[in-house]
């Protein structure tokens, strides 16, 4: 089936303005035991911009995203080669503190995963880990984070309700609030809207535009239109014959969608493949 080329809903969207590089993925390959899931990806992540990873399913977008805060460490047999620089420092270098990296590079997951505790405790979770016990500070930061996640109006009259009791979209915004409460520098989002209905999806997309003023955002999406709508830079990944994911093209979103350099990218965004 042939689709119309993806329309950018904001045609006046300016080409991304240059910005400092927050993270650099340099020659990264990821192995699961002997299987190579990602091969040799080079990619910059710009500060206060939204970078989207798109590509056919199974091409390793999520795997690549998870290398950025070392969540792959959790999977037995997973191994990362190459470097991932955060502010110029390799997060995979010996002596790096994985706890500190994950605090600086937060993450929001595909399915909302609030803890089975109150909204307040959910947001305060990371703060309490950092040893903040003072009620006044906690109150202030919880409110600030919930406001930033556009959830405050919905929950302010009952912060003690269970986080699990919220609707799916609200749960996801709660997870965003929880992530931004500890003031990470980068927020990774792994298909954050794939489990949500269209209205909740729109709310979150709008939210991202305000969040990027303070945070650097990397988002994986299976939805090209979404990438086109919200991101400043897009990386298109694909799968090689040996099922290893690799980077096909990276560039400012507008350019990548309107004037792709690679044939494969063009095929993909016009719906001829994938």
């Amino acid at each position: 089936m042939t689709q119309q080329p993806v329309a950018l809903n904001r045609t006046d969207k300016p080409a991304a303005v240059a910005s400092a590089t927050k993270m650099v993925i340099r020659g990264v390959s990821v192995y699961y035991k002997t299987f190579r899931a990602i091969k040799n990806v080079d990619l910059p992540v710009y500060e206060n911009r939204i970078t989207a990873f798109i590509g056919p399913s199974g091409c390793g977008k999520s795997t690549l995203l998870r290398t950025l805060n070392r969540m792959n460490d959790l999977i037995p047999g997973a191994r990362v080669e190459g470097k991932v620089l955060l502010d110029g420092e390799d997060i995979y270098a010996a002596g790096q503190d994985v706890v500190d990296i994950r605090r600086r590079v937060g993450m929001v997951f595909q399915r909302p995963n609030p803890f089975p505790m109150s909204v307040y405790d959910n947001v305060a979770f990371g703060l309490r880990l950092l040893g903040i016990r003072q009620k006044s500070i906690l109150d202030e930061v919880v409110e600030r984070s919930l406001r930033a996640a556009a959830l405050w109006e919905h929950v302010c009259d009952n912060l003690n309700q269970s986080g699990m009791a919220l609707s799916g979209g609200q749960q996801q915004r709660l997870c965003i609030a929880r992530a931004i409460a500890v003031e990470p520098e980068v927020i990774l989002m792994d298909e954050p809207t794939s489990a949500l209905d269209p209205i909740a999806t729109l709310t979150i997309e709008d939210l991202l535009q305000t969040l990027k003023e303070n945070f650097t955002i990397v988002i994986v999406t299976h939805n090209m239109q979404q990438a086109a709508r919200i991101s400043d830079y897009t990386a298109f990944l694909s799968m090689d014959d040996d099922r290893a994911g690799y980077l096909v093209e990276f560039g400012p979103t507008v350019e990548l969608f309107t004037n792709p350099k690679e044939k494969l990218t063009e095929d993909y965004i016009t719906g001829r493949f994938g």
Partner: protein, 358 residues
């Protein structure tokens, strides 16, 4: 009856009918009965099922299910009936903690509190020691153990549960009591001097080591696998996303376990603990072999005593008078009711609140 009726559905829809509920197939059956024209054909069908054995099959299935369902009730009923003499003679005084403790087969006077106390105190001590160990094991098995270590360790936990109770008892008498319990008892004996709390530690611990403390410590080993295995299953049933959420916020692995996983699985782990409590109270042989079997002992954990199970095991075969037998069976009834309630609660906590939610 339900079974036979249900089978009487036309052959052509056999496979579909196996999914139908009883009500709808009953309707089908009655429809068949109503149709005057097909009266001969439903007879044929009925004959088919008789001839091909499904009626017999479902009768057997229903009977077996009936056996399973009836057994528990029957056991309860028998205990109730057979303990009638004791129940009528002693009433609630029999299990009342503040009644005068007496266990005198010669006079046919019985009061069960010392045995109930023995069960509760040994099980309680066993729990206090076993729970941290078991939860630690569960955490290690579900969260930390590398792949290659997991299977052998799981095996070992299962093995601990598979060793027959009498073997624990034998080992307890000849190895564990003299080597561990006697020295430990001596070390604890000075606590008997403390006013108030001292009643629990009034020594001396017998030279053989037979004591409530010995029973409690053997119980620790015996209930450890139960609590550990169920807690491990509870932890493993928690979705991975919970772990990821915590770690992505910069939690350490311990913080993930302590602040996220344990609260998430708390009701299931509580269920595991209650299950362990039930096991400890019902455990018979090993306890009988190391507790010293004495109706005295006051409240001290360093003295020999009885538990509900051990007093039955020790005295029942030699009980001569009808009242003695009835009293022991009434203890069995108390034991039954207590373990039934504990197990039902544990089952509800583990199955409904943890496994299903996850």
């Amino acid at each position: 009856m339900a079974a036979e009726v249900r089978r009487v559905s036309p052959p052509h829809c056999l496979s579909a009918s196996s999914r139908l509920s009883f009500r709808s197939s009953f309707k089908r059956f009655s429809d068949l009965l109503m149709q005057p024209t097909s009266s001969s054909s439903w007879r044929k069908r009925l004959a088919y099922y008789f001839k091909h054995g499904d009626v017999l099959w479902w009768t057997l299935l229903t009977l077996s299910v009936g056996v399973v369902l009836v057994l528990v009730l029957w056991i309860a009923w028998q205990l109730w009936v057979q303990s009638a003499a004791a129940r009528h003679a002693f009433g609630w005084q029999f299990i009342w903690p503040w009644a005068k403790p007496v266990w005198n087969p010669a006079l046919d006077k019985f009061q069960a509190w010392p045995a109930i106390y023995g069960s509760l105190i040994t099980a309680a001590i066993a729990l206090v020691l076993a729970v941290p160990l078991a939860v630690g094991i569960a955490i290690f098995l579900s969260e930390l153990a590398p792949e290659w270590l997991r299977a052998p360790l799981n095996y070992m936990v299962e093995m601990l549960a598979a060793i027959p109770s009498v073997v624990y008892g034998l080992w307890g008498i000849y190895v564990f009591l003299p080597l561990v319990v006697v020295p430990l008892g001596k070390a604890l004996a000075p606590l008997g001097e403390i006013p108030g709390l001292g009643v629990f530690f009034r020594g001396p611990v017998p030279a053989s080591g037979f004591s409530r403390l010995g029973a409690a410590l053997v119980l620790v080993i015996m209930i450890l696998p139960t609590i550990a295995a169920v807690s491990r299953d509870v932890l493993q049933a928690i979705p991975r996303s919970q772990r990821e959420a915590a770690l992505a916020l910069g939690a350490t692995r311990w913080e993930t376990v302590w602040k996220v996983l344990l609260p998430y699985g708390q009701s299931g782990i509580l269920g595991a603990i209650i299950l362990g409590f039930g096991r400890a109270i019902g455990e018979t042989m090993a306890v009988t072999m190391v507790i010293g079997n004495s109706a005295g002992g006051g409240y001290s954990i360093l003295r020999p005593g009885y538990t509900m199970a051990s007093i039955i095991a020790n005295e029942f075969a030699e009980a001569v008078s009808e009242m003695h037998t009835a009293a022991l069976i009434e203890i069995g009834l108390v034991l039954f009711v207590l373990t039934f309630l504990l197990n039902a609660l544990a089952r509800w906590l583990v199955v409904n609140k943890t496994i299903k939610r996850a």
